[in-house]
């Protein structure tokens, strides 16, 4: 994947993006220096727990931040054009048309007082300037493509008349209505049952083959990441902790946070006597340690970690990690494996 990528122009390039929020208690640095490129047709996963800044990254990209949010630094370059400072008016031409987004909770993302057809057709009319009849035909086609049975009837139904899986399909139809080159999926299957999740993931893979769009897949579910993506970014406390090809991230983990995360999930394919536990919980946004953000929960942390801020360093081909103790990690992992668990 990556060797091909080198010859291609990135579709989207994010450089040192910072997104802060003004709050009563001070400035919250939700995203603090995000860097990545997205190439045409690939799937990039952004993984993290709540409060890691993974959703804020995508909202910054879409210019959908709340009023107290602002971007003090950084660049977002889409197809060679800097969209960081684009006015809402100009952004409206990009949003939906070029970069589309699907959300976690289809019930709250869809408007309950309009039929799903109205909502899909609104996008088509706005961006593609088609007339009523043409846009309706296109909407029916789209609903058919996303696997909604009897699309010509369903198009006149309201969101509450559809099941959760069907609503998510309708959202995907809406996102695809203008042939976007980037689709941002923010936890698209988290609210769904596993068998429905499998349907939606399969659908997204198929649509990516058909339409060739790049997908940014935001999720906390490592299973979904392994299944769907080519590359992954692991975030914690608004920073990238590890970035690389999906096989490197899972099989050649070079960051204690990523490693802890992977070992703390129960798995159906492997029997574990006891789960690895990362101590404590994600601190509130203003209370991260001043050095490495993960220092207070890390099993490798030293005094240096508490005081100094580690940089993202290259640990392999296209593989980056943010940690002072990358070499020590491997030894420690072997030790832990021998002793199985940290209790």
């Amino acid at each position: 994947m990556n060797t091909e990528n080198k010859n291609k122009e990135p579709l989207l390039k994010i450089e040192n993006l910072k997104t802060y929020f003004r709050t009563e208690d001070g400035i919250v640095k939700a995203v603090n220096g995000m860097d990545f490129e997205l190439y045409p047709g690939e799937t990039l996963a952004i993984v993290g727990e709540s409060g890691s800044g993974k959703s804020v990254t995508s909202l910054s990209l879409m210019h959908l931040l709340d009023e107290n949010g602002f971007i003090p630094e950084g660049k977002m370059i889409y197809k060679g054009q800097d969209i960081t400072k684009l006015s809402q008016n100009k952004m409206r031409k990009v949003r939906g048309n070029e970069i589309a987004m699907i959300f976690q909770e289809p019930m709250t993302a869809l408007n309950p007082v309009y039929t799903i057809g109205d909502q899909i057709m609104e996008m088509i009319k706005l961006h593609l300037k088609l007339n009523d009849k043409e846009s309706r035909n296109r909407a029916v086609d789209l609903l058919q493509k996303v696997g909604i049975p009897e699309p010509d009837k369903r198009i006149d139904q309201y969101p509450h008349e559809l099941s959760g899986g069907m609503r998510q399909r309708a959202m995907i139809a809406m996102a695809l209505s203008c042939d976007p080159s980037i689709l941002i999926a923010d936890e698209p299957t988290t609210a769904l049952d596993v068998t429905i999740q499998a349907q939606i993931l399969e659908l997204m893979n198929k649509l990516q083959d058909d339409y060739g769009m790049a997908i940014i897949f935001i999720t906390h579910d490592l299973g979904v990441v392994a299944e769907m993506s080519d590359r992954a970014i692991v975030m914690y406390g608004g920073e990238i902790f590890e970035k690389g090809d999906i096989v490197d991230i899972f099989k050649n983990t070079r960051n204690p946070y990523t490693w802890g995360l992977m070992n703390s999930i129960p798995r159906i394919d492997i029997d574990k006597e006891k789960l690895w536990a990362i101590p404590g919980s994600v601190p509130s946004a203003l209370k991260f340690p001043k050095g490495c953000k993960f220092a207070n929960r890390c099993f490798l942390a030293t005094d240096k970690c508490l005081d100094d801020h580690p940089e993202l360093v290259e640990v392999g081909e296209n593989h980056l990690s943010r940690c002072f103790h990358i070499d020590k990690l491997k030894e420690e992992i072997d030790k832990v494996k021998a002793g199985e668990s940290n209790g």
Binding site: E49, S50, S163, G165, M166, D193, V194, T195, I196, Q197, A198, Q199, L201, E202, H220, D221, L222, G223, V224, V225, A226, E227, M228, I246, V247, I249, F250, K251, G260, L261, M262, S264, I265, P266, R267, I268, D269, K272, K274, L275, W276, A277, I278, P279, S281, V282, R297, G343
Partner: protein
């Protein structure tokens, strides 16, 4: 207590919710949330109930604890029939007549002598009740089932506890931690005054929170800490049975593993029995000894963990397992994608409830409902073609 008797035995339990409509709020339909399920929970084991939304797993948990009353069925606690404890007089009379009196009378006509009737009754509980009936008649039964109700009902409010899914809505925001956890201790008269605080502090320590937190309010805790408070509350009365209803579903991955490990440790320390309800098969697999897979109000497969994962027999179980994404990018196994959505429990499909989505459904499946039968040793499955679908 004889440990061979299961702690809990549920027989043919049903829970229907009426759907009312029109001016007179007449019952026009029923949601068959739980339809005729039976299972046992032994002392010290963890039974996992797993299934997708709407399969009735939470309703089952609530019915067991009598937070809602089941529509039909018998719930036997430590060898005692608890079904009639929460019934009104008239309903209890009907229940005793239907479940015991009429049956014993009919058996008397068939087998003639009381001894033969006793020999032909399979269950310990039925034998016991038959003996009482033959000695004291209906009133003996009534006395057995309906006397000292306040004392008996304590099982559900003291010996059985629940941990809820959402640690934000299950703790009263206006109560301090010491009162949230200590309320039950005071109500049941286990301790008074300062002693309560000591017990609460001790419990906090057990669940990994600082004992200094007893004067705090719930909003001062993170989600994972609140769930620990919920666990401490459940432990406060030294229960025998804990129903954990999606207890770790709302937590972040790193915190989820802490809570799972904690529950595992506490089980050993306090000799607890869990009914662990969750939609996440991987979590259920990790914590349970036996697992019941539910689909649309029915148990479709019930066996111990090892058998279930090595040799799932029901096509739904097979599909469910294959649908879970495995966190291993080099092992992208072929998925079985089930068609369509889970049907509504208002109008469940005829015959086997899974036939509308089943990859191997045949004509028979839409006509005849497969009963839950023991195919192999301790491996129950409800499918006409069990074991034929391998994925």
């Amino acid at each position: 207590m004889d440990k061979k008797t299961p702690l809990l035995e549920v027989e043919n339990m049903k829970k229907y919710f009426p759907v009312r409509a029109g001016v007179f709020k007449r019952v026009v339909n029923q949601v068959q949330a739980v339809d005729d399920i039976s299972f046992k929970v032994n002392y010290g084991e963890t039974l996992g109930l797993v299934g997708e939304s709407g399969c009735g797993k939470s309703t089952t948990g609530m019915s067991i604890l009598r937070l809602i009353d089941p529509t039909a069925g018998r719930i036997i606690l430590e060898g005692k029939d608890s079904t009639a404890w929460y019934m009104k007089g008239k309903d209890a009379k009907k229940y005793i007549k239907e479940v015991y009196e009429n049956r014993f009378e009919q058996m008397m006509r068939e087998f003639k002598t009381e001894d033969d009737v006793l020999k032909n009754l399979e269950k310990e509980i039925d034998k016991k009740m038959a003996k009482i009936y033959f000695e004291h008649g209906y009133h003996g039964l009534k006395k057995e089932l309906r006397e000292d109700l306040n004392e008996k009902k304590k099982f559900f409010r003291k010996d059985a506890q629940i941990i809820f899914q959402d640690p934000y809505s299950s703790l009263n925001p206006r109560m301090r931690i010491k009162n949230i956890i200590g309320e039950g201790i005071k109500t049941h008269g286990i301790a008074k005054g300062k002693e309560v605080n000591e017990i609460v502090a001790d419990l906090l320590d057990k669940v990994g929170l600082s004992p200094e937190y007893i004067y705090r309010y719930p909003h001062q805790f993170s989600g994972g800490q609140r769930q620990r408070v919920g666990i401490a509350r459940a432990l406060a009365l030294n229960p025998k049975l804990i129903v954990a209803d999606e207890a770790v579903s709302a937590l972040d991955v790193s915190v989820q593993s802490q809570v799972i490990n904690l529950m595992d440790d506490l089980r050993k320390e306090f000799n607890l029995t869990y009914i662990f309800i969750a939609h996440d098969l991987a979590v259920v697999k990790h914590i349970s000894d036996r697992i019941a897979v539910m689909y649309l109000g029915k148990i479709v497969e019930l066996t111990d963990k090892k058998k279930l994962f090595e040799k799932p027999l029901h096509p739904y179980t097979v599909s469910l397992m294959s649908a879970i994404p495995v966190p291993d990018p080099e092992n992208k196994s072929k998925r079985i994608i089930l068609k369509g959505d889970v049907p509504s429990p208002l109008n469940p499909p005829t015959g086997c409830r899974f036939h509308t989505r089943c990859p191997i459904a045949k004509d028979l499946c839409s006509k005849e409902e497969p009963p839950l039968v023991e195919l192999e040793n301790d491996h129950q499955v409800a499918c006409h073609f069990a074991g034929e679908f391998k994925g």
